[in-house]
């Protein structure tokens, strides 16, 4: 089919179930190709920690099959739908890998990209190819499979993905510190990440975003909340909890959330309930060194009324700013550029996403390679043209 479209030089919008259509630059295409009919788990070997699924398989199908065998996706994929005005639950497994947007556990366990083992895909020339496989260790040839992650459907349409899965933790516990300013909170979180206790979530919610939490035990908080998650077998959690509290005692005495409350709390970040959809605001995602996070947010807040959520011990910032012509791009990019990192505009009106750079602008030498890679896969620029960069 793609070969035929290529012969007709018709541009294609690549979609799954539509969860991500409101993200990225708006892409006007001659037709839509959907993977939503490519459904089903094609291989699941729980004792080998591997699963393959057709790319249009809904994420919830994957996760419920895994849960039946006491397993999960380690990287907690984020369903952006609710934050960008699409219904929750419409994210497909292909979309997970095409965007590589991961939740809190990413700081400990790695990203979707890190767990991808193999793909089957069709490029813009209509060629069906595979890369990688179903085994954990594989250095045979170039790692094209991982190279497709985060390419937002601009290089190839994945038809099947194979990925590593992990056991569900036997128990969870959360330590919640209250009232810390951003810089101290990030210091706490980076200190926690520098211990051997395998902290699997390190999130800081300043006052404004903390107030939005739905978890009953924390609802209506008037203070900032700084949260650390431990996941392991029960005896280990008990031991590590004590050691962590000891290592972090200068930051105060934390509240403890049990497994049930912890599960509810950390699930909220999977749909970004603290960053709900609104036409009055724009949403950014900033990646930086954790220690730089508070500085970046403070610099932006000098000019914009921004609400932040710090994940990955400060290395990932979700930032909500008032909707305006450039969605705050000038201020945000300047604040990030001088401190290192990059910013992606996740939510804004289509005309805003069409006029500002949604992804971090590239230096010329990297742009040259990016253009070359695009051409290698999709020489006529049929797939999601302009979705990531206006001219690519």
């Amino acid at each position: 089919m793609i070969a035929r479209l290529a012969a007709q030089n018709r541009t294609v919008e690549v979609v799954g179930h539509g969860a991500l259509r409101n993200a990225g630059r708006p892409s006007a295409a001659d037709c839509v190709v959907t993977t939503s009919t490519l459904k089903g788990v094609t291989l699941y070997e729980s004792t080998e920690l591997v699963m393959s699924a057709r790319s249009g398989t809904p994420l919830y199908t994957i996760e419920s099959e895994l849960a039946q065998k006491g397993q999960m996706l380690a990287f907690e994929p984020i369903d952006l739908g609710p934050a960008i005005g699409a219904p929750a639950g419409s994210l497909s497994i292909g979309g997970v890998f095409a965007t590589n947007i991961c939740g809190p556990r990413r700081v400990q366990s790695g990203s979707a990209r890190d767990h991808l083992l193999g793909v089957r895909a069709v490029n813009g020339r209509g060629e069906l190819f595979k890369s990688g496989g179903r085994v954990m260790k594989n250095v045979t040839g170039l790692d094209v499979a991982r190279g497709l992650t985060g390419s937002w459907g601009t290089l190839a349409i994945m038809t099947e993905v194979t990925f590593k899965v992990v056991p569900l933790p036997q128990s969870i516990l959360t330590l919640v510190y209250t009232g810390l300013p951003d810089d101290l909170a990030i210091e706490l979180l980076t200190t926690a990440m520098g211990t051997p206790y395998e902290v699997s979530g390190a999130v800081h919610l300043p006052k404004a975003s903390a107030a939005r939490l739905q978890e009953p035990s924390l609802r209506g908080s008037r203070d900032s909340l700084t949260m650390i998650r431990l996941e392991n077998f029960q005896a280990s959690i008990e031991e590590r909890k004590g050691k962590l509290k000891d290592a972090l005692k200068v930051y105060g005495t934390p509240r403890e959330l049990d497994a049930e409350a912890s599960w509810r709390l950390w699930s909220e970040f999977r749909t970004l309930t603290v960053m709900p959809y609104s036409a009055d605001t724009a949403l950014w995602r900033i990646s930086t060194s954790p220690s730089k996070g508070p500085e970046i947010v403070a610099a932006i807040q000098k000019n914009l009324a921004a609400v932040a959520v710090y994940d990955w011990s400060g290395g990932l910032i979700w930032l909500e700013v008032p909707a305006q012509a450039d969605a705050g791009a000038a201020d945000i990019r300047r604040a990030v550029a001088v401190r290192g990192g990059h910013a992606t505009l996740i939510r804004a009106a289509p005309e805003v996403r069409a006029s500002v750079e949604v992804f971090e602008p590239m230096k010329p030498e990297l742009e040259r390679l990016t253009r070359g890679i695009k051409t290698a896969f999709d020489p006529q620029a049929l797939f999601n043209r302009g979705r990531m960069y206006a001219t690519i």
Binding site: D143, P196, M362, L366
Partner: protein, 490 residues
């Protein structure tokens, strides 16, 4: 083992050697070049020693700018380049060519920045793998990938090969532990990818570059993750009377939700040789031995090892032995770590590196014995059971050329078998020249073209580490050289 075809060196280039040396000396200084025959001989091979080629000249740059100058010069003068770290590649990844400039990164070995709060180190890539961990050990951190050659191998080589190690079941391989890279392209352009943060923007260039075996560029600086070392670690040994039971036991451990930091498998020939060499206390009455290691505090370790022992008990083990103390742990690991050396004292061997799905282990092991027997050879098997990476060591006598040929043929059959059961040709050693022509067993013509187009984006004239990784027939129209069977085989 000399059957791999290599390009015929370009006599015109060799004739220009003196002038090329002078030009390079003007660019990066005479002291940064190895031009004499004796000096160059040290670079004529890597750890796949059956193949030797005298390099045209060896450049030992000390800065990224110097690497860029050399590559730009080679680009402008149509010279081929072979990147090199410490030369520990087992697949001929760093094999030189008579008409190619070897760019050896080993003098660039400084640590540029260590940031414990943000958990990264920025280093020049000529640094050895172990030197990174040694530097950050003062604060209890380490760099996770730990290939067996870690004392000698450079980070540059690890990046090129996407190296793994014994602990990658828990910590991942190189590609999981690198955040950023500064890379010099063949035309001398310097590109920065990623940085000291978990995700870089745009296409995932790091994924394409890591494991590209020197096909895309030379990485001169890298930002790597450093991790806090676990409070403690301790192994246990589990001996079984059949490979199937050992495989089932591994599956049951994982099914119970336990991911040990390492699960190593040895078959009887490997056990016998290692025990004779290292006196590790391995049981000699078992067909399969597992070494399972877990990490944590003392209490966590006790609890996990007890759980694993309880799981193992379901499979009627002939031996269950939990390490009692640090000495005991060291002894248990000493045998496994000495395996390659121990087997090497007994016989020449050809080390294979396939990966297979765990469930296929019993079938693959029996087929390996069968394949070796058909070639009149024997094999010992070492297996990273947690991640499916299998190292059959085919034993042969290097003084008998026909045995060497047979070992190579048996090796090829074993790797094809790995692919056939759903695995791959190489789990951590790389393709290089050794497995180059077997790539067609795993990849279709289209799969290979998709990869080769990426190579062409970074290195349009195919001057960088040419005639490796991609089968010669597949890359023929893209390369400019002529291929001959290597003279050794003639």
């Amino acid at each position: 083992m000399t059957s791999v075809k290599l390009p015929i060196p370009d006599a015109n280039v060799i004739a220009r050697r003196g002038a090329i040396n002078d030009d390079l000396a003007r660019l990066i200084g005479r002291e940064a070049l190895v031009t004499d025959e004796e000096g160059r001989r040290a670079y004529e091979t890597d750890a796949l020693t059956a193949y030797r080629r005298m390099p045209l000249v060896v450049a030992l740059p000390r800065t990224t700018e110097d690497v860029a100058k050399v590559l730009r010069y080679c680009h402008d003068n149509n010279l081929k380049v072979v990147p090199r770290g410490a030369g520990t590649s087992l697949c001929g990844g760093a094999l030189p060519a008579e008409d190619a400039v070897v760019v050896c990164i080993s003098k660039m070995n400084r640590i540029l920045e260590v940031d414990y709060a943000n958990r990264f180190a920025r280093v020049e890539t000529g640094i050895t793998n172990l030197a990174i961990s040694a530097r950050v050990a003062e604060r209890g951190f380490f760099y996770a990938p730990d290939p067996s050659s870690q004392l000698a191998c450079t980070l540059a080589g690890n990046l090129a090969m996407n190296s793994g190690g014994a602990h990658c079941l828990k910590y991942g391989v190189t590609t999981h532990n690198v955040l950023g890279a500064k890379m010099v392209l063949m035309d001398g352009t310097v590109v920065e990818i990623g940085g000291p943060y978990l995700e870089s923007s745009g296409y995932d260039m790091l994924s394409l570059v890591i494991g590209s075996e020197g096909q895309l560029g030379i990485i001169t600086e890298a930002t790597v993750r450093i991790i806090k070392t676990a409070e403690g670690a301790r192994p246990m040994m589990l001996g079984f009377s059949a490979p199937e039971t050992a495989g089932e036991c591994v599956a049951a451990i994982i099914a119970a939700g336990i991911i040990p930091v390492a699960i190593e498998y040895m078959d009887r020939p490997a056990i016998e040789v290692c025990e004779a060499y290292a006196r590790a206390g391995y049981p000699l009455d078992v067909e399969a031995l597992l070494i399972v290691e877990v990490e944590g505090s003392d209490a966590e370790i006790e609890s996990l090892l007890a759980k694993i022992a309880a799981i193992a008990a379901r499979f009627n083990p002939k031996r269950v032995e939990i390490s009692a103390d640090a000495d005991h742990s060291a002894r248990i690991w000493a045998g496994r770590k000495a395996a390659f050396g121990a087997i090497g004292r007994l016989s020449d061997y050809y080390c294979m590196d396939g990966t297979i799905p765990l469930g296929q282990l019993p079938y693959v092991l029996s087929r390996i014995s069968q394949i070796c027997a058909e070639h009149g050879l024997k094999a010992a098997n070492i297996f990273h059971a947690g991640d499916g990476n299998l190292h059959p060591l085919i034993l042969y006598d290097a003084n008998k050329p026909e045995e060497a040929e047979k070992a190579e043929a048996a090796g090829a059959a074993i790797l094809s078998l790995c692919v056939e059961v759903g695995g791959c040709l190489t789990g951590e050693h790389g393709v290089g020249i050794e497995k180059r022509d077997l790539m067609v067993a795993q990849f279709s013509a289209t799969d290979l073209v998709v990869q080769m187009r990426i190579k062409s984006v970074f290195d349009p004239a195919w001057r960088l580490n040419s005639a490796k990784v991609f089968p010669l027939e597949a890359s023929e129209s893209l390369r400019s050289d002529t291929i001959a069977r290597s003279p050794e085989a003639a």
